[in-house]
Amino acid sequence: MKITPMRRTVQLLSLAGMVAVPLLNSRGISAVSGSFYSMEIGRLLLTDPLIAIQPLLATMSIDATLLASALIPAGLALVLGRVFCSWVCPQNTLSELFDAVGIRLGGRRFFMPTQGPLVRYAVLAAILAITLLYGFPLASLLSAPGIISVQTARFIYEGTVGLELALIGTIILAELFLVRRVWCNHLCPVGSMLSLFRFKKTMRVVMAEEGEHACLHCRECAKACQLGLNPMDGEIAPQCHNCGACIDACQGMTGERRPLSFRF
């Protein structure tokens, strides 16, 4: 079974939910409320781990409820990897869309030559250091999914949007004309924080090296990767956000051999 159609369904449902929540809330139906910073489903509070530690750093005071509300999202990342990024995040959905448009238009754009998580962790550390030193919640202003969801709500409630959306526009332009998928791949602090929650059993793309599952070295997986990663290189986590495009491409070439698959 192909992974991509399932992922597209989840992406569309996430976008629909992002619009439906403020629409329903504005009519007094608030069983689900919030944004991609923090949301409440029934009485269950879920907060982006990056956003949950931010007040702790900014004010040096602990709010146990807020920290506890990040446990489920962090746990999900621990088990399934950064699936929030590839299956839910509206910025990834937008970036994927514009990347596909960019390819159609035939622009000459490149992935960043270095693919390790070094830049990603340096950016995250800098953002957290600024939060700590200046008590300023910078991460909130740099959370693309948070901004997109809050501005959607603001548009529905106030009929206007804020300049925060300039960040989203900048990301899309930079990815179209400078470096492909640079935000999700190297800069986004939300994704970087989620990628800290991993251990050796975290779900990842694994290539079978030998025997009946052996790789044909057709390179279809690397071509399919929207982040420019090459599963044939071996370890691609934590840059890989488990979208499954490589596995689908692999299956298209190799059928039942299935050299590539998600493993725990």
Binding site: V21, P22, N25, S26, G28, S30, S33, G34, S35, Y37, S38, M39, E40, L45, T47, I51, A52, Q54, P55, A58, T59, D63, T65, L66, S69, G135, F136, P137, S140, L141, G146, S149, V150, A153, R154, Y157, E158, G162, L163, E164
Partner: protein, 159 residues
């Protein structure tokens, strides 16, 4: 600090509020009067994304539905009754106030949700703010008919 804004009920003191608030917008979603607006960059980088109330346009009706939903504690969950709220204090500009200038008007007095407590009438039937009782909801500012608004809420305090 840039401009000072009226915050939703239960808000911590401004400096602490700015560090605690995660800019999630949930309080604005909870407000049935759409009185809680999301500040933009033009309101100042520090306050961008935080909830503000522009009382002249749309004041707080003290339903307190926003408070329990706040995930970060920027709105203090212990604030459960309207009397506990301390969003600010109303100030009357007597040079602009119709009654203080001799025309009879009691809009602010009549509309104050803490009726006859936060705004009282003096012996000559002129409105006076009781700073101990006023919660700063801004309804008086919203209903004031004077051209340049004779009663405004000065944001501050906590709660």
């Amino acid at each position: 600090m840039s401009k000072h804004f009226l915050r939703p009920p239960g808000a911590l003191p401004e400096a602490e509020f700015l560090g605690r608030c995660i800019r999630c917008g949930k309080c604005a979603l909870a407000c049935p009067y759409r009185a809680i607006r999301i500040a933009g960059l033009l309101d100042g980088l520090e306050v961008m994304g935080t909830p503000i109330i522009r009382a002249r346009q749309s004041p707080c009706y003290l339903c307190l539905k926003c408070v329990p939903g706040c995930p970060s504690g920027a709105l203090d969950h212990r604030v459960k009754k309207r009397e506990q709220v301390r969003m600010g204090i109303a100030r009357i500009n007597r040079k602009e106030c119709l009654t203080w200038q001799g025309t009879f008007c009691r809009s602010c007095y009549d509309h104050c949700p803490l009726f006859n407590e936060a705004i009282t009438m003096d012996s000559e039937l002129r409105p006076v703010v009781n700073e101990k009782k006023c919660v700063g909801c801004g309804i008086c500012e919203h209903v004031c008919p004077a051209d340049s608004v004779a009663i405004t809420v000065i944001p501050g305090g906590s709660g």
